[in-house]
């Protein structure tokens, strides 16, 4: 286990280094810079601005500065948001995104697995069809449409929840639900197919032939074996959902992290692009390791060291 973690952490740093370098290259490959604008800005003002943000330095120096920033997790001031540093932006946006994301993941996992179980166990019945219609709707209807429907129904008609903005727990309900729909549908379909596969296994057939049934049977024998694919996708899904959704956050006026991923690029806000990318990659890698560890807990047959298998 310890050896696994050490190896894993080394590979994390290599991965991050590659991501950071690629981001740097891609970032500067996009035409335009933070100060390209239709407004008539005098050349000398643009010069002053570039000097101020160190964009006139040679590429190599900028790269070294950039690596240093990433290593120390200090990304410096944002170019667009002069008020705040990138660290401050992440520090203020992430908790909000993470709260919505966590609620969404809980909703998605709970209802997704539940729907999947019912659909698989009552295979080809009305419940199955009902669950899968929900799942297909969830996958095919874009989240912004779902969000708009939620606003119109629960905020404007019923007035149970505020339309948008942030503050109380009430503000977090609709965005969480809207964000949960797609992963929920995904988890439901995966759970269903995975359970169906497990149900056809010899040991399950044997167990069933011996008359084992009920909730204990489903959870102990079927679900535990069927969970591996679900847990696998849960890692990346959680990382994505926790770091915020641009669309959902924009629609609900939520001050989360999501918008910085997109606006950082449209504004060519280099420090912000770096910060969000490194942050997201770190979280993603963390969850992937977590998933690896979860495998062992779920299925004792899996060993973390490939060589010893």
């Amino acid at each position: 286990m310890r050896q696994f973690l050490v190896r894993r952490i080394i590979s994390v740093f290599v991965t991050l280094f590659v991501i950071i370098s690629l981001t740097f290259l891609l970032m500067y490959a996009i035409p335009g810079d933070p100060f390209t604008s239709e407004n008539r800005i005098p050349e000398q003002v643009v010069e002053n601005l570039k000097e101020h943000y160190g964009l006139n330095d040679p590429m190599l120096i900028q790269y070294i500065k950039y690596l240093k920033g990433a290593l120390l997790f200090d990304f410096g001031p944002s170019i667009k948001w002069d008020n705040q540093t990138v660290n401050e932006l992440i520090a203020s946006g992430f908790p909000v995104s993470a709260m919505i994301g966590l609620q969404a993941i809980l909703i998605a996992t709970f209802f997704g697995i539940l729907l999947g179980i019912f659909a698989a166990i009552r295979h080809n019945s009305a419940i199955d069809y009902f669950s899968m219609i929900i799942a297909i709707l969830g996958l095919s209807v874009p989240s912004f449409i779902f969000a708009t429907v939620l606003i119109n129904f629960f905020a404007i008609k019923l007035q149970w929840f505020p339309v948008a903005t942030w503050g109380t727990w009430k503000h977090s309900v609709l965005p969480s639900v809207a964000l949960a729909v797609t992963p929920m549908a995904y988890i439901a379909r995966l759970t269903r197919s995975s359970i169906l596969e497990v149900l056809s296994m010899d040991y399950i057939q044997t167990a069933m032939a011996k008359g084992v049934t009920g909730v204990r049977f489903v959870f102990r024998h079927v679900l535990r074996n069927a969970m591996i694919p679900v847990v696998t996708i849960l890692g990346p899904i959680t990382a994505t959902v926790l770091t915020g959704s641009f669309v959902i956050e924009q629609i609900f006026g939520v001050p989360g992290l999501g918008k910085y991923f997109v606006e950082g690029i449209t504004d060519r806000d280099y420090p912000l692009i770096l910060g969000t990318t490194v942050f997201y990659s770190a979280i993603l890698v963390f969850f992937i390791i977590l998933v690896d560890i979860a495998y062992v807990l779920i299925d004792p047959r899996i060993k973390l060291m490939k060589g010893r298998r």
Binding site: P42, Q44, N48, N83, A164, T165
Partner: protein
């Protein structure tokens, strides 16, 4: 045990389904109840003077020197006050300066400051504060994005460039604590109005020197305008309260002015409908026209023009008649009524409605239209003449460039159709991400493009310089000697009426040759609750809540 668990699972599931069903069936009933509750709540809230508006997004900075966008500009206009301000009709009235005088040659302004003008921390607003603030805007390392608004001040440009180091040589001096003397490079008729613009708003010298990040948080923010910041949750909400130290605090009726930050048109409209917003300027494109024609939404001019940019370096568009043909063959009326549908007004001239000539409104002097809209016959004729001059039998395929945008997508397709139908010209559409597009235009790497231009200060000349030969913003490579001469005459002219006439003549020359082809003037379309009064909107200085109140 097993049975109990399975029951719990089933019960939970059942419970959720019932909830969903009951939510649907009780719909109308619940709706009525909440409607009533809402009305009660509303009558209560009318007693408290609170207005909620949408700032769209977090202002990148609220320090006047660093502001580069309208959102932050609108917010700072409520917090700070310049030497002058604008009244209901947009006329210049005293702000921090209670009176002023101009030297005979129009280059020296002397402002006498109101001794009651105070900062929110109680300090008096002094002439030195203005000297310090303006010097800061022009300091090269501050890198003020709109610093060029102060280039009219003597040595302003040189100091910003770094070629002149001594701030004492700037044309702005504190004669005494309450007298400010400003020397300009040359007579500038719109300078007085410009002192109300957000780049020229003052900051408190002592506060700025003690803490360079004072403008980032509510508790360190010091301003001199009608309002101060009570709380500021970044990216979420900014709440203003009246400034107790403001000299004109008696006219301020609001208890609170709340700015939320929601950057989505449909959500903004939903919030307006559910009374979470009192004023909305960012309506969904799809329903703008409907709201305007039903009288629910109002429009105000916004001093911005969308136009076709021809690249005059291109062989085809160097020809005046080809440009005229393309410009005349468009049915702008149809474009704004049926295509863009956002309350735009068809443009048959360069200068937008509402912009000043220095001697009255420009469009009143120049007339509304400089050519006939949808003049297909003349267009055909011009095209033929142009082709003959170029020695071509037909026009090669033209590329129309624009940045990805819903309105421009629709607009470009409609124009493509009009050119094909009216002139038989094939136009190919090309769209790009915004900054990539701007870079292409600046590099002159295009044939024909949809572009827009807006005024920074209330004077027509602001939009006209960019079409002079050799101007750095002349990305169209336009070169019309007659136009240049008229513009230079206007620049040197001290008599405002005569100057205005030169500008009018210059516009006519530019548009007669169709150096650019105007498409439409943008307008501001807004919704305002019936019980809100006293919000002033201007063509340039966008909005003022000083005297706003809830009825």
């Amino acid at each position: 045990m097993i049975k109990l668990r399975s029951r719990i699972v089933f019960l939970t599931f059942f419970f959720v389904i019932t909830l969903l069903i009951s939510a649907c069936s009780n719909n109308s009933q619940v709706n009525n109840q909440t409607d009533n509750e809402n009305k009660d709540a509303k009558t209560d809230s009318t007693k408290e003077q609170v207005i909620t508006v949408n700032a769209l997004s977090e202002p990148p900075s609220l320090e006047p020197a660093l502001i580069d966008n309208q959102v932050a500009g609108d917010i700072s206009n409520q917090l700070f006050e310049g030497l002058v301000r604008l009244d209901k009709e947009g006329k210049i009235v005293p702000g921090v300066a209670e009176r002023w005088k101009t030297s005979d040659d129009g280059t020296i302004y002397t402002f006498y400051l109101n001794k009651d003008a105070k900062w929110s921390n109680g300090d008096p607003v002094t002439a030195q504060d203005f000297v310090y603030s303006w010097e800061k805007v022009l300091r090269p390392e501050v890198a003020s994005p709109l610093g060029s608004n102060l280039f009219f001040i003597k040595n302003g440009a040189a100091y910003n460039e770094g070629s002149l180091k001594d701030p004492a040589e700037l044309g702005v001096k504190a004669v005494d604590e309450y007298t400010l003397e400003v020397t300009l490079e040359k007579p500038t008729s719109f300078f007085l109005g410009l002192t109300a613009f957000f780049t020229l708003l003052p900051i408190n010298e002592e506060v700025d020197k003690a803490n360079s990040k004072w403008a980032s948080e509510a508790d360190t923010f010091v301003s001199n305008g009608p309002f101060t910041i009570e709380s500021w949750k970044h990216g979420q909400e900014l709440v203003m309260v009246p400034n107790e130290n403001y000299w004109g605090k008696d006219v301020v009726k609001l208890d609170k002015l709340k700015w939320v930050m929601v950057n989505e048109q449909n959500t903004e409209y939903a919030m307006y409908q559910s009374n979470e917003l009192d004023f909305s300027t960012n309506l969904p494109n799809s329903i703008r026209n409907k709201l305007i024609s039903s009288g629910e939404a109002n429009t105000a001019p916004s001093a911005s023009l969308a136009y076709l940019r021809f690249n005059h370096k291109n062989d085809v568009f160097a020809n005046e008649k080809i440009r005229q043909a393309l410009g005349l063959a468009l049915d702008r009326n149809l474009l704004v009524e049926k295509v863009t549908q956002g309350g735009e007004i068809l443009a048959l001239g360069l200068i937008p409605i509402g912009l000043s000539s220095g001697a009255g409104e420009f469009r009143d002097l120049a007339g509304e239209s400089l050519f006939k809209d949808n003049d297909v016959e003349t267009a055909k004729q011009k095209l033929q003449e142009g082709l003959d001059e170029l020695g071509l039998s037909s026009l090669p395929k033209i590329n129309l460039l624009f940045y990805t945008d819903d309105t421009y997508n629709k607009l470009s397709q409609a124009m493509q159709e009009m050119w094909k139908k009216n002139l038989g010209i094939e136009v190919e559409l090309q769209t790009m991400e915004r900054k990539v597009f701007v870079q292409n235009i600046q590099a002159g790497d295009y044939q024909l493009a949809i572009y827009s231009t807006g005024a920074d200060y209330d004077d027509a000349s602001n939009l006209m310089g960019q079409f002079m030969t050799g101007d750095v913003y002349n990305y169209s490579n336009i070169s019309i000697p007659e136009y240049d001469q008229l513009m230079k005459k206007a620049e040197a002219e001290l008599n405002l009426e005569e100057r205005a006439q030169y500008l009018v003549d210059a516009e006519k020359v530019l548009i007669d040759q169709m150096a650019i082809s105007p498409l439409y003037y943008r307008t501001k379309v807004y919704l305002q609750k019936d019980n809100i009064e006293g919000i002033f909107q201007y063509t340039i200085q966008a909005i003022d809540f000083r005297e706003a109140y809830v009825k």
